[in-house]
Structures are given as C-alpha cells and as structure tokens.
Assembly symmetry: D2
Homo-oligomer: 324 residues x 4
C-alpha cells in the first residue's frame, strides 16, 4: 500500500518534494529521482534510482506516480508523457509555458477520459486559504462580493521579464480566486506603478464579485502573501504567518520569510499527503489540468492589457465534462 | 487672546464641534450657535447667543470665526458669506454640493487674496494618517508607489443615492490620497460589485503612484477605515483603531465603532485646536478651498465612470498661486 | 471662567504640563512658572510670571491653582503649602518621598475638611485603562479574579537605587490595580531575577483577586506598559500603543517609545482637562491624597519583602471619611 | 524500514495518535490497537490487530514500538512492561500518577542502561515553543531572566479535584519551562483566587530566572496557552494561534479552540514523526523518563504550598548519568 514515487527535477522545489515525501508523508516512498546533472540526481535519490532522462523515469516500471518539478518549459511535455503512460502526476505550476500547450494537456486527459494530472497550486492546501473557503461556505460572512489579494516577492528572479509578474506570479491569484469564489473572471483592468512594478489588477467575475490584486515583484522587505474575502455580512482574511512575536531594539513584531518555501511549507506537505491519498482512493483533489489551463489562459490575456491600458474581456472556452 | 467662535448647525457634527470647543480646545469660546430650530440652538448655545439665521451669526460683531456644520447644500453660500465678512471659517466637508459651486468659493477667496477657508477633511489631523505621512517623508519606505484605501460604513444613510458613495464618501480618500502622496490623480478606473456596492476604484497619479480604494457603504459589521502606503523599501499602514482587546465567548479581538465619530474623535479635536491656533498665528493649516474643490471635482468625474465602465481622464484646471 | 495656574518645576514633566495647559487645555492659562534656575523659569513662563521660590508662587494672589512637578523630595512640603493657602493642587506622583510624609498631607487635608489635592497618577485617565475599568464595571468579563501588569522601562535613571523599582515605578501599578479592581492589597510576595531586575510581585487583595506584576527597570528594547484583567467570563487587556504598523527590512511591527511621555501623552492631557474642570465644578477627580499615601505605604512595605524573601502582610490604616 | 506500532488506549488522544500514524507519519504503520472495550479496539484497529489486554499487545512479536494513551493511573506499569520487553515507548503525560511511581520507571530504565521511554510532553515539538527556544539559544534576546506562562482551559473536566490544576495541568509548564530555560526550579510561591481558580505560581530557578504561571481551569472563553520569554535584550512570545481573522457583527478577531487538540495538532504530528525517526536512528528525542519524573515530583511539592501559603523549596534528587 506504499506508493512508489519518481521525482523529476532537484531544484528548490524538487528537493523539497523529496524531503516531504521522505520525512512527512504517510504511505509513500521515493524510488526514483531525475536531474540532468547525474551527480545531483544521485545525491538526492538516496536509496532510490537516479535518472538523467525524465522519460526513462516516467516509463520505469517501479515508478507508480510522478512529481514534475523541472523547469516550466518542460512541464507540458512531461505531463503528456505521464498521461501516455497512464501514471498519476503532480505537476508544479504552471502546467505549461503557454495556454496553447496547457490546452493540449487538457485535451489529452479528456481523450484518456480519466483525471491523472494535479497541478501544484499548493495554496489550495494552505490552512489559511482553506479556512477562508470554509468561512465563505459556512455563510458566516454572507455572499462574497470582493476579494483583496496581495502578492509581494522580496525580489524578482533575474530571469524575470515583463509579463512574468502576470504569467508566473499572478497565476497563483487567478487560481486561488477562482477556487475561493467559485466564480470565473470575465474582465480585467490593470494599472502599473512606475517601471511596471507593482501592478494593480482588477478582475470582474461572472458572479459579480470583484477581485483586486496587488502584484509586487520587488517589495524588498520580504515575501508577503495576503488575502481578504469581503462578504455582505463580514470579512475573513489571513492572519500574519508567524508563530512568535518579538520585542527587540525598539521594535515589536515578526519577521517575514525571504520566499514562498517557508510560507507555504505546510501547504506543500498537506498537498503531498492529499495527493498520495487521492491516488489510493482514486478521487482527484487539488487543481486539475483544466484549472491549470485556465490560470495560464487568463494570465496571457491579462498580460495584453498591460500594453493597451484598456479593460480586456477574458475568454477561455467551455469546461469539458471531465472537470465538472 | 481667546477666539470667539460661532457654530452653524447643531446636528451630530455641529454639536460635537461645540463640545470640542468647550471641553478640549485651548484659546477659544463658543459665543454663538445657529440652528433653524430656535429651541435646539438655545439648548446647545449655553451662555452663548442663539441664532436661527446663519447670516446674522456670520455678521454678528462678537463672532470672530465661524464653523459651518449645516447641511451640505448650504456650505458654499455660507462660506462665501464668511469670505465677504472677512472671517475665518472651518467648513465641514464637502465644501460644496457641486464642483461648480466649490470653484466659486475658490474664486472668491482668490479675489480676496487671502486664505480664510479651511475645509474639514479631518483625516489630515488623524494621528495614524499623520504618522503615515511622516514615515513617507522620512524616506523610511522609499518612493511611494501604491496606496490601498478601505472605506467601509456599517450602513449607508437612507438619503444616500447612487453616486453619493463617490461624491460623499470617496471624497475623503481623494483628499487624503492627494495629501499622503503629494500627487494629483489623472485617471480613474472603477469596478462595482452587484448592486453597485462595494466599489473598487483605481486612481493613477501624475507621479506614477497608484491609489486603490474599496468604498463599501453597507459593510454591516461596522465602520472601518484603513490605509496602507506601499513604498519601494517597505510599507506603513494603520493599526487597528482600538486601545483594548478582549477574550470573551470563544472570541479574541476588538469592537468596531458604528460610525466615524468615535473613530475620528482625536482628529476632530486636533483639527479644532490647530484651526484656532492657525488663526492666531495667521498660518493656514488643513485642507484649503482649492483642496475642497479638487476633491469634489474628481468625485464628480469618477462618478461618470460608474456609468460607462471605461477609464476616465481627470481634469480640474490649474492651481491658483494663492494655494502654492 | 479661565483658571489661572502656576506650575512649579520645569523639568520634562513640568515643561510638558505647561505645554498641555497652553495648547490643549480648555479654560486655563499659565500665569506663573517656578524654577530654581531663574532663566529657565523665564524661558518657560512665556507671558506668565517667573518665580524661583515655589512658596512665593503658591502665595501669589493671581495664582488660583498649582501644579507641582518639582523633585520628589519637595512634593509633600509644597502640597502642604497649597493646602495652607487653600489652593487646589495637582501634584506629580509620588505624593511624598515616604509614607510618613504622605500621611501628613492626608492629615492636613482631613483637618481642612476639603479635598484640594490630586496626585498625578495619570494612568487613571489613560484611554486604555479607562476602557478596561468600564469593561469590568459593565460585567462583560464577570468577577475580576486576576490582574497581570507589565511595567518595563528601557533603562533605569542613573539616580535609581535598590528599592526605587518598587517605590518609584511599582507605585503606578499599586495605584492602578486598586483603581481597576476596587480592592485593597493585603499580602505581597516577591521574586527577583539576578541583580534584582526584573522583579515579579504578587499582591493578594481583600476581595480575593490576585495582582501579578513584572517590574523591569532595564528592559532595553523600549518603554512598555501592559495590563490584562482576567474575569470569570473573559479578559480585557491593552492593545499595542501604536497607530501605525510597518513592514521594513524583513520585519513587520511597530516601534516602542523610549519612555512614558509619548506613551501617556493622552493621559496627561485628559488628566489636565479633567483637573481644570473639576476645580470649576468643585468635584474632585483622579487619585486623592489618600490614594497617594496608600500607594507609597504599600510600596515601602513591599520593598521590605525584597530583603527577607518572605510574604509580607500589608497594613496602611483606615481610610478617613473625607475619602469615602 | 517501516516501524510497526501498537497503540494502547482509544480515547481522544489514542484515536488521534492512530490517525496521525496513518495519515501524517512517514515510515510507520499501526499494527495493533488495545482497548478494554473490544468493539472499540476493533473499530480503531483497521487492518491492525485488536487487543483488550495491553500486556498482550506489548509482548506481541509484530509490535516493534508502543504508544501509551490509556488512563493516567496505568502509565507507569505499562511503561515498565515496555522496558521489560525492550521496546521503545511513547507514553502520554504524566509518566505516572505519583512521583514515586515515576521514579520506579526511571530506575528501571537506568538499570536497563538504555533510553526507551519518551514522555508525550508534546509542547516541546510545538513550532511556537521551538522557535522561542531557538531565539533564546541564538542570543538575540540575551540572557533569559523571566518566563511568563498562561495556561487556560475553558472548563475543568468533571473528574478534576483540588490539586489536579497543579499535578495534571501545571506539569506542562514545569516541563516546558525547564526545557525553554535549561534550568531547574528550586523554590515555588503560590497565590490562589477565590475558589482556588485561577492560581498564580512563581518558580525561582537555579540559574536565577523566574517563571510566572497563571493556571486557570475554568477560563470559560476558550482554551488559551501563551508564553513569553523575557531576556536582557528583548522578549519572544507566542503569536495568536490562528491562521485567519474575521470582521463580523461589530467584532474583529479570531476564535479560540475548545481544548488542546486543535491547538497542539501540529505538535502531536511533529512529535510522532520525530519519535518514529528517533527509533530508526537510535537517538532519543523529547522528554525523557527523568523529565517525566521531575515534572511530577515538582508538581506534587508545589501542590503542598497550596495548603500552607508559604514558599516551598523544591527537591527531586540527582539526575542519573543516563540522562546527561
């Protein structure tokens, strides 16, 4: 009853997934690790097998399920390979580098007629977001009318270019806002501060609720994600992500993490446990391939609004029955 | 050296101004109170004189300075009468019911060549906003790039109609944002939740900083005003407006006030002390007639964007030399 | 109807009282200021008269009421002189350097048969403490059973010696605890950290409620006063004394003041307004001479427990009818 | 490499340990469950074996390690049986109903010459306590001089009698304070509110630091555990144990849990993962049998101070070499 997992990629997230599988996940073991750098693959693999070819890992008979944590540009093809091999896959976000590629994964899965792909939008497993969803669903704050998101990175990676604030960062808010509100964005407005950072993006949804998001790639002081859901009868928002407070050198408060890894450590762990269990129980959880496609499709269209300054109507087609 | 003040209007704000002048203001006394209801005027006047005609109060020789707290529609004419009489006046916001009327007050003051009008945008004296301004000016958070405002009323007054969320409530954010950022709005975008409440309004400014404001007239849970100023090196925001926290019945937290009076009690007191002192020292403080005009002019133009859904370019003319 | 006030002492507190009287107090003016340094007295006196002899100030016919802010050792004699002159006096805490001296002031006032002395335990006017009292009196937290006090100074003044942590600092908690709980301490226990700083002092009261106080003279990080009142049905405590929060350099939070002046600025202002009004209305407010005596008497007895390490029973005699 | 665990007891904690082992623990499986109620044992056992005799479970050859979560009175004898069988055991706190019984476990383990017993003082694995320890060890707040603990239960269990507030609840603070401060208590003082609830207990330690603890069995509003560690250069304390904040019905804040299970869910999970790993690595973690004995011994002695009202010197003998 122990799931044999192969992990592709041994960067920050790949190594973290391996650690979580080994130390904090029930019912799983790491049997294979793949990296273009053979030494690195061996170092991370432990008593599992080291691969340099991801397709070899995917096709290896002892690998029952796959985690994709390789560079973004490889996601779609590897996910397609997993589908072809009939193996469940947890693919880091984004599902693909473009909406077109993401749609190919959706189409392949629809063809297969069975959901095997989970996209690693881990915020859906973050205890704070989960509690916000429960509060909305409980009716305690009434109908949701507004969602405020703040997404601040300490510094953009040096490989970031123009629209990546939207296509690589804001995709998180697209996914979590759809999930929190159970609504689809239909129109986007965008304003940019000098230099294009930060951005203020407003989405109007098919249910009427409005989503307002700050995306700030170079906030400097730290990594800070916040959300507040506003209803007719009240609001629910994230508390500060800290377990201690200090008084020191004239200051009271808490420290910010440098990046998303400590902030979402619990989310990654819970996501992995849920994914492993979902395979045993054959009940998909988390973001589907469709969700992955929609996030990327909306992001691409929002990015065009950056150029024109005009509101843009969003369009991403009909949800296939497989995802209802 | 004690300033003799006449107060026009004895509603919530008029009565509060009289109380502040009597109990918490140095160097002033209330010598006259005016209300259409003579009995009410006498009850509030104490040992001052009661008037039913505001112009009689303004022209009375023992009245050295005037506070206008009568209905909005009367503000412009009474302010003009104070200018004609050469008496300093603290006029509750808005300065006038329309931008055209407000502009007439500006023109009369420019003609006079001397600033006598202060508009009661009391937030400029709120300790939290003042500290936010000081933090920005200190350079501690670097260049300001974004300002998030939240303006929530528990319930809209029953005399509120469509655009008043903009022209009566959002004017506060227009004024305080200009003051905090030392910048002028040049473009507005607006999205509305179902029923037109809440609104999300984005202003772009001539310095590039973006202002994002939620205006929610029926937030139900309480009166809640918040602002966060985002800079290149950090942020500064309002703390919760409370002096105590409780644990009771499974809940930790604090209560919200029902309306703006308790929230801005300190601001009203400090504004009054500053106004009285500014007259003795002949150095105007607070929002000028020009500021009052600009807030109303922008609000009127933003309100039109509510109809079209399109971005609107803002235009309110050149600031006269008197206000430089 | 304007009260003519003479202020004795122009140190930190004396100068602050003069400022408050001039800028933030209704119905009062400063007509005399006294300091041993004639130049300093003149500088602070403004258009009032400068004195170097406090008794001359007290007896000057234009002085209607006196504020004592001179060194602690002079308080009792000056308060006695005010009583002899029949003039209301606001005396900075402590009322006297010893319980015996404080008792002499009480006895003189009882002899006079009229309350003229208010001791400047300003915390009774602090909005947070006032709200805590109201919450207790409202019944919202049920019977009060415990009071936690934290009293931290950034650094002890260099003239501080052994027991002054108790007789000069802890007296504040003695006074405010009696006032918050409406109860009298009957027994004290004390434990000291290495070097005698901080101290943990437990008081048991005649109503059963327990008072637990940390007194820390050299907390270094800042000036920090906190209190939490625990009842049968809940608790009420002070919120952080700040109006803004910042994110900067990996930290979220707020700054601590260096000393009590900014922390209790509102309390000092409100105390002064209440004192001036109480004279006009002939209704004493604040801490009485009796309260001043009891605080000092208990502090002296608690200080002895520091030596023995044993619990000490507290005794300060019967409250005279004048103070019922 | 998967550890086969037997769990004794299926009450709140026993069932929770089984759930944690199954859903959130890497490298373990539940092979046996014991309860006096055979049906209950079977229901919880899943595909493991059900026992009604705990000794049979302990001696069963497929059981490699044991979790004891049966009633307190049984702990010592079952721990002794595990030692006799040479099997690692995680025993819920307290280790024994009396200090004498706990000492017998220590002596048996010393005789064995090998540490097999871990006592379930789970707070040592709570992220907030762990971070507080790290902050102290980092030197950021300087030498620790004071520790404030608050331990509030919503309501005492109905089987609670007099001293159990000390022997069953306060034992947690004894253990965590020794661990946080790396110091041993040498003297205790205690004051009680009316009805003996809450208690204020002060411990002085061999390093000079003072520990101040409120133990409140019937705080009504919720389950609330807090600690603040005070050093020469600053403090570190627990943040509110919540991931969301709400605004609703005039209130801002968060909810309190009803009891310790949700508050310490992470601690129990992390403890279990650490225990399983510690067995594989043969490196004991967590509270030892000696720690379990000391907590109970101190609690017994503190309880006597409740009777006399006098300070009590604490004595619990020499730590055996096995625990150095």
């Amino acid at each position: 009853m122990t799931l044999s997992v192969g992990v592709i990629g041994t960067g920050v997230m790949g190594a973290e997934h391996v650690r979580i599988l080994r130390e904090e996940t029930a019912g799983a073991r790491v049997v294979a690790v793949c990296d273009a750098d053979a030494g690195r693959a061996r170092a991370v693999a432990g008593d599992g097998e080291a691969f340099t070819d991801p397709l070899a890992l995917i096709h290896d008979h002892k690998v029952q399920a796959v985690v994709i944590a390789s560079p973004d540009a490889t996601h779609a093809d590897l996910a397609l390979a997993c589908l072809a091999a009939g193996k469940p896959v947890l693919c880091e976000k984004p599902l693909a580098a473009t909406a077109d590629q993401a749609l190919r994964v959706v189409q392949a899965e629809v063809q297969l007629g069975k959901r095997l792909v989970q996209v690693g939008y881990m915020r859906r497993f973050d205890p704070a977001y989960v509690e916000m969803l429960h509060v909305r669903q409980s009716g305690a704050i009434g109908e949701a009318v507004l969602l405020h998101n703040t997404h601040r990175n300490a510094a953009a990676p040096d490989w970031f270019t123009g629209a990546m604030a939207v296509t690589n960062s804001f995709v998180h808010e697209i996914d979590i806002s759809r999930w929190l509100l159970d609504a689809e964005p239909v129109l986007a407005r965008i304003s940019a501060a000098p230099g294009g950072d930060p951005l203020m993006i407003t989405l109007e949804t098919d249910r009427g609720a409005v989503v307002s998001t700050e995306v700030y790639m170079n906030a400097r002081y730290g990594y800070h994600v916040h959300a507040q859901l506003v209803g007719r009868d009240g609001t629910v928002e994230m508390a500060a992500p800290t377990v201690t407070l200090t008084n020191h050198a004239s200051q009271h408060g808490h420290a910010w993490p440098e990046n998303w890894v400590p902030r979402f450590r619990d989310a990654y762990r819970i996501q992995m446990n849920a994914w492993v269990r979902s395979i045993a129980e054959e009940r998909p959880v988390g973001a589907s391939a469709w969700d992955g496609y929609v996030a990327t499709a909306i992001a691409e269209q929002v990015a065009t609004a950056l150029q024109t300054g005009n509101p843009v109507r969003l369009d991403f087609g009909q949800r296939p029955d497989l995802y209802l």
